[in-house]
Amino acid sequence: MKKLINDPKNVVLEAASGIALAHSDIVTVSMDPLFIVRKDAPVRGKVGIVSGGGSGHEPLHGGFVGFGMLDAAVPGPVFTSPTPDPILAATHAVDGGAGVLHIVKNYTGDVLNFETAAELAEAEGLTVRSVIVNDDVAVKDSLYTAGRRGVAGTVLVEKIAGAAAERGDDLDAVAAIAERVNAEVRTMGVGLTPCIVPHAGEPSFTLDEDEIEIGIGIHGEPGRERIRLEPADAIVDRLLPHIVDDVPFVSGDRVLLFVNGMGGTPLVELYIVFRRAAELLAERGIEVSRTLVGNFVSSLEMQGCSITVLRLDDELTELYDAPVQTAALRWGR
């Protein structure tokens, strides 16, 4: 295991210190309990938005704290959801009197810990709503599973809900927007190589030199099927139909196309994937009107990517375009 770390036990805290030092203009970091909060939190009268989950997916979620997006992010240990205490503390820290929205990726651990935190917060007099993101179409049948996982689409839920909160929407409205984004966004990923959780010290799974994992999760969980390595275009040709046919997205739809790197894949490859995905959408008469390419929801050093498509309407477009000022996503200010 070759990593730029010190003691595996200190990875999350040391990275949090780094984030505090690197982005002191945007965020404040509480070290114990650990959460990253917008510098000007709580913003009076604004709905506070909290997300979080296991570490190792940076910039998710800490890189999205700031004006127009999250009010706080709660990083758990690597690939392990945070416990209720820091979620509760973060919820208090961002409550500006208009209630707090929890944006939670649909993993049993995240859901249960946020649920417990929300119950505790409500018991302490706060108003909390939760939205579960479950955009991953790789998981086959939600009746027989813990349900679809929340993956890269989470970034878009956070961006757009954040903009709604920033423009002054109330808690119900912000939650409704977040639900709407979740309803309109679909993702599927591919893994080329595994990643190593620092405290585990070895890969969570192995792939042969010519094998790839279609439908991989963001913790290196095995996906839908393991196949022989294929050219990028063939992989995109495999992934995209699952994404597009699910809602489904149809000719005439306007969408945001988001190609997300898993952390270890160079940007040049993400653009090759983007190109093919955009071509396929064009062939189906689907108009790509907004785009995002980069490592936004990573899985440590895993090589691979995911493709996310979000159907846009005028309101979602406007909210997506609204100013945002975070470590990892910034425009308009």
Binding site: P84, N113, H199, F205, P222
Partner: protein
């Protein structure tokens, strides 16, 4: 003679040791069908519980100990197992609040409450390849042993043995809850790490009671 606060403390101490010893084994079980952290998560939690044990009043009841375990696991384990085990110990504490000693009926009561708490939070049914597949046989076996008039250590031993068999029996199953559910058929042949840790914890409870 029922199980005392002393037993409960010793159980916690032994659990922490057992989990530490099985940390890698549980990680190894969690790797192919989960995310490889179950042993790490529980170890972190039980080490914290251990550190807090001295803070308990000398006359702490089993329920007091269970409550401490619950709160500590909830606030230190994270993942799926943290809230699930946390709820289990919390409900167990609720089932025997105030009792200085636990007789056979009380044992069955807290085992049942623990199991029900996990079901309430996690909504798993039997056969879905989760820790419930160890807990439910354990509860049933304990109830049977109680009906058969067994002693407290025997009741816990029956529970542990059933949990061990239950954990083993998760191997051929397809998972329908937790991370392993994403795997479909590919989960077959792997033992559920949470069921295994349940068996370890209940075996520890029985061992300590038998001393």
């Amino acid at each position: 003679m029922g199980l005392t606060g002393e037993w409960a403390r010793d159980w916690v101490t032994d659990s922490a040791e057992v989990i530490a010893q099985n940390r890698v084994a549980l990680i190894t079980l969690d790797r192919p069908i989960g995310d490889g952290d179950h042993g790490e998560n529980l170890d972190r939690g039980f080490q914290q519980v251990l550190a807090k044990l001295d803070g308990l009043a000398p006359d702490a009841t089993p329920a007091d100990v269970f409550k401490l375990v619950a709160m500590t696991l909830i606030s230190t384990v994270g993942g799926a197992a943290g809230p699930l085990y946390g709820t289990a110990y919390l409900k167990a504490a609720g089932a025997v609040t105030g009792a200085p000693e636990l007789d056979g009926a009380a044992i069955v009561a807290w085992l049942t409450a623990a199991r029900d708490g996990i079901v309430l939070r996690g909504k798993a049914e039997s056969g879905e390849k989760t820790m419930i597949d160890a807990w439910t046989p354990a509860v049933d076996a304990a109830a049977g042993a109680l009906a058969d008039g067994r002693t407290e250590p025997e009741i816990l031993d029956a529970a542990a043995t059933a949990a061990e068999a239950g954990a083993l029996a998760t191997e051929p199953l397809v998972a329908r809850k937790g991370r392993a559910s994403y795997l479909g058929e590919r989960a077959i042949g792997h033992r559920d790490p949470g069921a295994q840790s349940t068996a370890l914890l209940l075996r520890s409870a029985a061992d300590v009671a038998a001393r």
